[in-house]
Amino acid sequence: MINALIVEDEFMIAKRLTRFISQAFGDQPFKLTVLNTLDDADDFLASHTIDVLFLDLNLQGKDGFSLLKEKLCESFHTIVVSANSDRAIEAFDLGVLDFVAKPFTFERVQTAINRLLDNTQVGNCRYLTYKHLGKSELLAVQQINYLRAEGHYTHIITIDNREILHDKNLDKLLATLPEYFIRIHRSYAVPLHQIKSIETQAGSKYWLTLHTGDNLPIGRTRIAELRNKLK
């Protein structure tokens, strides 16, 4: 069951989006809520968990980017639906799953929904947006040493050995991170350029050493793909 929320103040556009999204989900069970203000959306999110947010960046003439940064720290994916297509790159940099420019067709909405359903790695975010002391902050992707899953959350370990807790799970984070981020274990993901060496131990156990000296386990099922990527 996928919980989706649309925040759109234009009645006709919300109607159109609802129609296309419902159609795109197809057989997938889903629940769709439409709200027209961010205040209403915040109220709703306080008591509901969602998987994806469809967000208009220009609600009542407010600049949507500060709001977008806040939403990107959350556990759910954000798909921007906006007329401001000139800011799409900026939105991708910040880690949106997709950016649908208005006016839009059904096919474009379908692509976005597919990305969501497959958790396809789109691979263009340059920053991770995270919450620190109640404020949303940006972390450059190059700063990431490795990622460690922690239940519904993810620990981000930086090159300078800081540890940041992110509200998105590892799957969702990887969906927005560039392709050179590789899942090496059920609980670990690393950027390829951080890998120094791979060691085999007795009992078909594999270990990976990073440039920073950290050692991480490699999942047995993932070693082949990793070796392939490193070639």
Partner: protein, 581 residues
């Protein structure tokens, strides 16, 4: 500012340092009321004669003889000639030591036999009779052409270098005449400014003041420039007196209006000057005295007004006070030659100041004009832009796409409504003022578009009797847009209302919109602070009504009201027929 003073001081010092010729005059003269040809010669025994000081003479109906003694010095060089200058209210024959030197008109015992002589007569003293020592000038005088009832006539005589004497009238007139060109220019310029750009009465008054001063100057210089017969002397002095009264009154009026005193104060100052002038006219003798005193009354009141303005810290007051003091300063040098000579020059001090303040005002006006043009263009752009933003257009296109796919008929209706709004927008935005009727039509067309877009039925209830009243475009529209965007109306039917109240020359437009009571307090605050919309409304009202408008915002639990008051004007051209129904 300092340079203005400097120029004025230079002008004044220049005028004060002009070279004066050596004058030979007598303190007294003798007169006898008896026509005897022997009196052409110096009379030794003047026991029958009356001795008088040089303060005029008693006018007789018949012929009198005057004798004046001069003590001639040595000539400075052999070619130097002496001349005698006589100014008397009468025709005369002049004799120097018994020798006839000139006829001035024809002396007669009745007005039919007398031909008036010129008022200022310059005569050459025969070189043979210019030896150092005592000499006698005899005048056979008749004054048949003076106005009835005049008892005293002016009389003045002196001897000096002949060359200098004939140049004297031109020298005296040249300084005031220097001013005449400037006066005409400034008078016309002020008049032109009054009728074309600055409708302030002070410019009109200043123009009149310049013209009066010019006339006064011509009346004064007339004597030196174009010799006239003595019977014109009294009318000329009367003219000078009248012009002095007028100039004094205008000077007071000018300062009153320049500082924009209260109506009551202006009238009091003018009354003070008029009463002062009347008292002077009745109680003082002599034209020159009266002219001077009435004028000083005017200058005094101008000074009074300026001191008051300085104390109340009005713009330019200190500068004007300085100018006025320079203007009056020469009076202390020589009261009588002031009117004759220095006055016209020191009036230039006032002219300079006036031009200076004018230049400043023009500068300010220009800045305001450019500002208002910029504002006007910016406002037009802003109004149009709001409906042509990419965001607006792309959202609209998205909505149209949806209608095309789901309800093509609605798509067509919506496009028509949008076209109406654009038409109204294009027709109104370029104007700075439109009729209330057009503004309402603009709002209605916007609400129709919004009804389609939001699926809320908006209506605007109008209570306005005078729909031809003028209003800047987009003001009510801005209120409508703000009400819709800040309230997030969500369902059904929203009724906005517009009430026009007319109170004499003032109209109040009251706009009321319901408040979405579900919303939090932040939304309420937004209603009061209209943000950019408010700036647009302020700028448009400023553009059309200056400071003569007010705007008030009030809020109850379920409604928000804006009251905009501004002067009531009617417009006749509306934009009928734009609507495509």
């Amino acid at each position: 500012m300092r340079i203005v003073y400097l120029i004025m001081i230079c002008l004044l010092t220049f005028s004060l340092h002009a070279k004066q010729p050596t004058l030979i005059a007598s303190d007294t003269y003798h007169v006898i009321n008896d026509d005897n040809p022997a009196y052409a010669y110096p009379v030794a025994d003047k026991s029958q004669w009356q001795k008088r000081a040089f303060n005029g003479f008693i006018i007789r109906p018949d012929i009198s003889w005057f004798q004046i003694e001069y003590d001639l010095p040595h000539r400075q060089n052999p070619t130097q000639n002496f001349g005698v200058f006589v100014s008397i209210l009468g025709a005369f024959d002049a004799y120097w030591d018994g020798q006839l030197i000139a006829h001035n008109g024809v002396v007669g015992d009745s007005s039919s036999t007398e031909i008036p002589g010129i008022i200022d007569k310059i005569m050459l003293i025969p070189p043979a009779l210019s030896t150092p020592g005592k000499h006698t000038l005899s005048l056979r005088v008749s004054s048949q052409h003076v106005p009835l009832g005049l008892e005293n006539g002016s009389f003045f005589s002196l001897v000096t270098d002949y060359e200098q004497l004939i140049q004297l009238p031109y020298k005296k007139a040249s300084r005031p005449l220097l001013m005449s060109g400037a006066l005409i220019l400034v008078a016309l310029y002020s008049l032109f400014l009054f009728f074309t750009s600055f409708k302030q009465p002070s410019y009109l008054i200043f123009s009149a003041l310049c013209l009066t001063i010019l006339s006064l100057m011509l009346a004064e210089s007339w004597r030196g420039l174009a010799p006239y017969t003595y019977d014109w002397q009294i009318p000329r002095l009367q003219l000078v007196l009248v012009l002095s009264c007028l100039a004094s009154l205008l000077l007071t009026a000018f300062f009153g209006w320049f500082y924009q005193l209260k109506q009551r104060h202006k009238i009091l100052w003018l009354l003070f000057v008029v009463v002062g002038q009347l008292i002077t006219l009745v109680s003082v003798d002599g034209f020159d005295n009266r002219s001077l005193i009435v004028f000083i009354i005017g200058v005094g009141s101008a000074l009074g007004i300026t001191v008051y303005a300085t104390l109340t810290k009005q713009q330019h007051a200190v500068l004007m006070l300085g100018g006025l003091i320079l203007f009056i300063a020469p009076i202390s040098i020589n009261m009588y030659s002031y009117m004759d000579q220095y006055f016209f020059l020191s009036f230039s001090a006032l002219l300079c100041l006036m031009l200076y303040t004018l230049a400043q005002t023009m500068n300010q006006r220009n800045k305001q004009l450019i500002q208002s043009q910029l504002t006007s263009n910016r406002l037009e752009l802003e109004l149009v832009k709001r409906n042509l933003q990419p965001h607006f257009i792309l959202n609209t296109l998205t909505a149209v796409e949806e209608w095309i796919e789901e309800s093509p008929a609605t798509a067509v209706k919506f496009i028509n409504a949008l076209a109406d709004e654009f038409r109204f927008m294009a027709a109104t935005s370029a104007r700075s003022i439109i009729t209330l009727k057009d503004e309402i039509a603009l709002c209605q067309s916007h609400l129709k578009v919004m009804s389609y877009r939001t699926n809320i039925e908006y209506s605007l209830i109008i209570d306005a009797n005078l729909q031809h009243a003028a209003i800047p475009p987009g003001i009510i529209l801005t209120l409508v847009e703000n009400a819709i965007s800040h309230n997030h109306y969500q369902h059904g039917h929203v009724t906005l209302s517009l009430v026009q109240t007319i109170n004499q020359s003032q109209q109040t437009i009251s706009f009321t919109a319901p408040i979405d009571t579900k919303k939090n307090t932040q939304t309420h605050a937004n209603n009061i602070h209209l943000g950019l919309g408010s700036q647009y409304i302020d700028a448009r009202l400023n553009e059309s009504f200056g400071a003569q408008w007010t705007i008030e915002s009030s809020m109850t639990n379920d409604a928000w009201q804006m009251d905009i008051s501004f002067p009531l004007k009617r417009l006749n051209n509306t934009l009928e027929g734009l609507k495509n129904d």
